[in-house]
Symmetry: C2
Subunit: 342 residues, 2 copies
């Protein structure tokens, strides 16, 4: 009906009071006479007035927006995190601005500019470089942020949340070893990712603990995508002594492993055992259901958001760096090796 959005001034005029009085009513200030308050509130209701968040933002320098930045939107990994963030944000007045960088620095700068321009209240960066210029700039602009699953080294004062990747890598390997496997391969993420390094370290630890040699051939880096799983499995299978178990760096990779194994006429888990990482929904949908290391992605998102909220409120964090526990979820993709080698 009314074309323009109504302003506080209109309400004031209609209610026969001054602008500040309306503002006071809006903000539930105590110093308004009950009768006046009543009257103003009625007018507000009648006019269908909603206050402008933009004007407010300008006034007090906070936009009510949290930025969530992910490298891409091509994996359930990100979506789980996004969901976690959304879950806590939806209980607040804050909105989530989602953007992607595609790991391109051009996009990163663009994002950074937007964030700073936009007076973001805070940012959650997924898989960001642990100590980069970007982070410094954010800091310089006094924009609170927390990093999820950082890459590379982490500055000491960077709030971050991750998962116990080392423990996960070790648990998966130990499990496979306990089943009797002696040649277990690991497909990881790129070595520049902190989580990859940790998982491989966990894998090595388990092997060494069991007194088994670490065969470099069995450690295959790559992206966390299906294709990598496929390709590396093929490579692994071409080895003179192929592994009897494969520990993939992500469930998506594991799907590639499944496909490659099928293509070679090998059955899971009868011929080769497979363990994934992440525990995204697909893990339960495939057959055999994927045994995997659960990474509490949604919870990481929730935790990061909770931390950010505290930072925004100016509170201190109990701990700058929090690591959430991974856990082994046993399903159907592992079994004792068919023919024990060695």
């Amino acid at each position: 009906m009314n074309r323009r959005r109504s302003t506080i001034a209109e309400i004031a005029a209609r209610a026969g009071v001054s602008i500040p009085t309306v503002s006071r009513v809006l903000n539930n200030r105590p110093d308004v006479a009950p009768a006046t308050r009543e009257r103003v509130e009625r007018v507000i209701r009648e006019a269908g007035y909603v206050r402008s968040r933009v004007a407010n933002a300008l006034r007090r320098g906070s936009s009510g927006i949290i930025d969530l930045v992910v490298p891409d939107l091509d994996s359930p990994y990100y979506f789980e995190i996004i969901r976690g963030v959304e879950e806590v944000l939806e209980r607040t007045e804050l909105r989530m601005a989602l953007s992607t960088t595609h790991d391109e620095s051009r996009r990163e700068r663009q994002w950074l500019r937007q964030v700073i321009e936009g007076a973001t209240d805070g940012a959650i960066l997924v898989l960001a470089q642990g100590q980069s210029d970007r982070l410094d700039e954010l800091r310089r602009h006094r924009i609170p942020f927390v990093v999820v699953d950082h890459r590379g080294e982490l500055g000491p004062d960077v709030p971050s949340v991750g998962a116990t990747n080392w423990a996960g890598g070790r648990a998966a390997t130990e499990y496979l070893l306990s089943l009797g496997h002696r040649r277990v391969a690991i497909i990881a993420g790129w070595p520049n990712l902190r989580c990859s390094q940790d998982r491989i370290a966990g894998y090595r630890a388990a092997l060494e603990e069991a007194g088994l040699p670490v065969d470099p051939e069995l450690i295959r880096p790559g992206e966390f995508r299906q294709q990598t799983g496929y390709d590396q499995t093929c490579a692994l299978l071409a080895l003179p002594q192929p592994p009897t178990a494969i520990f993939a760096g992500s469930d998506l990779q594991a799907m590639g492993v499944y496909a490659a194994l099928r293509a070679h006429g090998l059955r899971v888990p009868d011929d080769v055992s497979v363990v994934g990482f992440d525990d995204v929904p697909i893990a339960t949908m495939v057959s055999p259901a994927l045994t995997t290391i659960r990474q509490p992605l949604a919870e990481m998102g929730r935790m990061a958001t909770a931390m950010l909220l505290r930072l925004i409120a100016g509170e201190l964090l109990d701990s700058m760096r929090v690591e959430l526990a991974t856990s082994l979820v046993v399903r159907e993709s592992c079994a004792p090796p068919s023919l024990p080698d060695r």
Copy 2:
């Protein structure tokens, strides 16, 4: 280094010019002497100045934010759409604010209030009720919007994008029929969803065209989730004359179908053929790979965003209602029926 964010006024002072001049430089206005422009630009660079989008937003009443609203964040369906939206938005200066309603009207109002408060430039509503108070209110506040995959009836002047669900329903059924199936079941979404209705209509059309009776027992409504697929398949299998092919309403449902079939010791496609709907990534990851009706989700997101952008620019839409083509993607989950019934 510098604590506060620098303002245009500071730049002006430092460069020895007036505030409007800085603004002109910032906006690439032609009426600035080259030398002055040069100088101002240098100061801007040195100061690391970024203009406040908030102030701008207040000034010109546009916030640079597009709202994307989905019912939930629990299905690849949404993520594909989100990705499409992000793809076109990332080429603009606009940011995406993502929120969920959980189909609760409380959340919907909250969202609506936020949107109106926040001076959103426009909104994309996924699976919104075709003619609801919400939409009216958006219209009243002059907020451009477009609906993706609307539910229920659609007002005539509501910009929307969907897929050719009818054609998809028909194509899937025809394909199954052409394979020799005579009892094909359809698991759909809730009947209040427009897309469900259309698909069922397409299914009926194919059946009738082939001179086959439509058995109401074979039409099973439910949610688009895995569990529904599982449950309805069990129900279907319990029928005196179970279907030899099942057309699921989503790929997720189809995963449930797979699981139920496996649980009953039935093989896909040897014993029962399965067709999905959507063609999300999982479809290619499972074995047998899922034959499905591809719904160009990401493209729908892109299209919706493109339309919204035009609406925001004040341009007219070529067409209020656009339907993107679905297509049959044949993979491995269908085969002729093992024992022809009747």
